[in-house]
Symmetry: D5
Subunit: 92 residues, 10 copies
């Protein structure tokens, strides 16, 4: 599970910020269509998301996260998850 | 998103604990089959899980959680999530 | 329960800030009259409030919060509440 | 606003605990009928509540809280609230 | 008990800051002479104070605090206190 | 300022606990009459107090605190205070 | 990186605890010889370690950790690491 | 024990900052020669120090700290210490 | 700098605890006489100390700490210190 | 173990920042080739690293860290490690 909190500084030019958000959305949707970004939810009341990624390992995950257009303005924490013994679905 | 941390005291009788875990697993799988407990992951290295529930609201969620056999031994936190504007899938 | 902490940066133009506060007050009162924003209290000694919303779910709550004029300057946390078994009043 | 977290030790005799909970419920409902305990909500997934009291001051609030049957097993925090300038209802 | 931490931004004009501090001192002393601000101590090594107020309730306390000249630059926390059963002096 | 949180374990014999509380009260009142324990307040909703001591230094303060009958069951934090430049009363 | 804090309760039988520690040491050394447990350090002054594992992914890591004899008495946190662009050695 | 963390804002003119650091060093050494500032250590990897002061009380300590040239840029915490019963040296 | 917090469980036999404290004191004084344990202070109001050790490195420090009779009941944190550029005394 | 979090302010000139990063990389690689900086990993999703240094003591470690080009923009914490009794490799 990845938790991302976005904090765009007020000093960033609005046009630049808008372009970054547009690029971020496009990349997020491309990664979802490819099956890499399995789930993406908005946290209620926050400019933040909770996400589930389906990747081969830490390297791929870091490459994806650090290539996000809003990455320089994100505070990210990663909680490694694995198959739960009571889960009826199989991961991956 | 619901995060559950289980902490069964060492003083609990082992047979009782084993039965509770068995009941918990059965109820967790029943709720998954019904589509209420959408996702269930184990946190690596912890007796804890990260879960996504698909419920009608706070009342239903509390009823489900408080009826879990291991509920008295769980520390639970709930983070309300909603549709993300960049998500290609629709919630619910 | 929603807890909102407002932090307007000193660099924001005073006229802009005043207009935002005026718009915020109008929207807060409109939502109260509609019964969506059930309770609104000031935290003593802080530019913060504690609020109770009466909404259909997480989607409606996020739509209301993210449309508040001061939303970009707020730090918000949501604590999901439900009917208490000892409460004599019924929620909703 | 008062936040109460209940933590009854597993070593407490079950009959004693049940009687305490019954007494707690009776007192909570009596205080609600008297208008002292204005609101009482359950926190989803926790043996905890969020409450609003309508009292004359700190002395009365402490007398009420410390007389609750489950008080010895509660962790309580109090956040003083007051009239919000945008609230359409008047406190008290 | 009220704990106030002052944080005047370096960008504030020095003359403005000096006037605010002078006004703050005058108001603090006026409130002390009136008996509202019962005790005022400096925290060693910090631009912070610990204070005891003698007020009728939350409304009066918030009105006093929010009218302080340095209020916009303060981080304030309020801990409600009451008569201690072992105290030989009576509050109020 | 001294903040004391009392946590008497449920396993302590009730008669022993009652005697300790009685001794604690007597010593607290003796120290108040001597002017060492200047102020003593109850924190609303907690088995805790906020206190002001008038002592010659750290040694005397530690000797007083560590001689309290309930000391072994207390969690104590000390915040050093000094004369505030805006205070109209003089310490000591 | 995995951080493990061991907390064996004082109520555990000493012979049982000693056997668990012996088994833990054997398994730790077996995993090191196999190259799975790449590094193992003691934190100075604590019954805790900092470890680096060389595993195929989250599943293998959780299987290893949860099979450790002292696992029921450990508090574990996992910080996912990856190749650093300035590192001259290659991971894996 | 006093812990000081220095945080000079990047916007401060470099010549001003250098002069402040030079003045700070001179005053720190003067206070050490006078025996007031008994010990001064650098925290490894941080622009911070751990210090022991030998002063008559809280007033003198605050006067010393608040007169330090870098005081406006320091975050300071004070932990009151006293003679330890197992110490072979006497304080003061 | 080493900070040690002692927490002897109430269930430990009093004679055993007293012997451990006596042994701890003897070892602490022996290490002070040898110059390894340079400073030892009591934290006011707490069963805790702040200490400075003069050792060859991490290995020696851990060997000393883990051999203390009360080590199993201590929570220890270590803050590495070094020569401060403004210190007039030389470490070591 | 050393944990470094880099936070380059948005106001720093991009050319200056790029040069600092280039210098940082060169120094990090030089220290790795010399065997001082034993391990260097990227934390997934963060502009941060986890590192293991092989140094003679606190003085050398602080000299290395404080000479890093990005040191003024780093938040650093040091956790002292030592030989683990179950480790099959010897430190140093």
């Amino acid at each position: 599970m990845v938790q991302m909190q976005v904090n765009i500084p007020a000093t960033l030019d609005k046009a630049v910020a808008d372009q970054l958000k547009k690029d971020e959305k496009e990349m997020a949707q491309k990664l979802q269509r490819e099956g890499k970004w399995r789930d993406l939810w908005r946290v209620v009341g926050q400019y933040a998301n909770v996400s589930i990624f389906n990747v081969s390992g830490n390297d791929e995950l870091h490459n994806i996260l650090s290539a996000l257009p809003l990455y320089p303005f994100m505070s990210i924490s990663v909680t490694p998850l694995t198959q739960h013994p009571s889960a009826i679905a199989q991961i991956g």
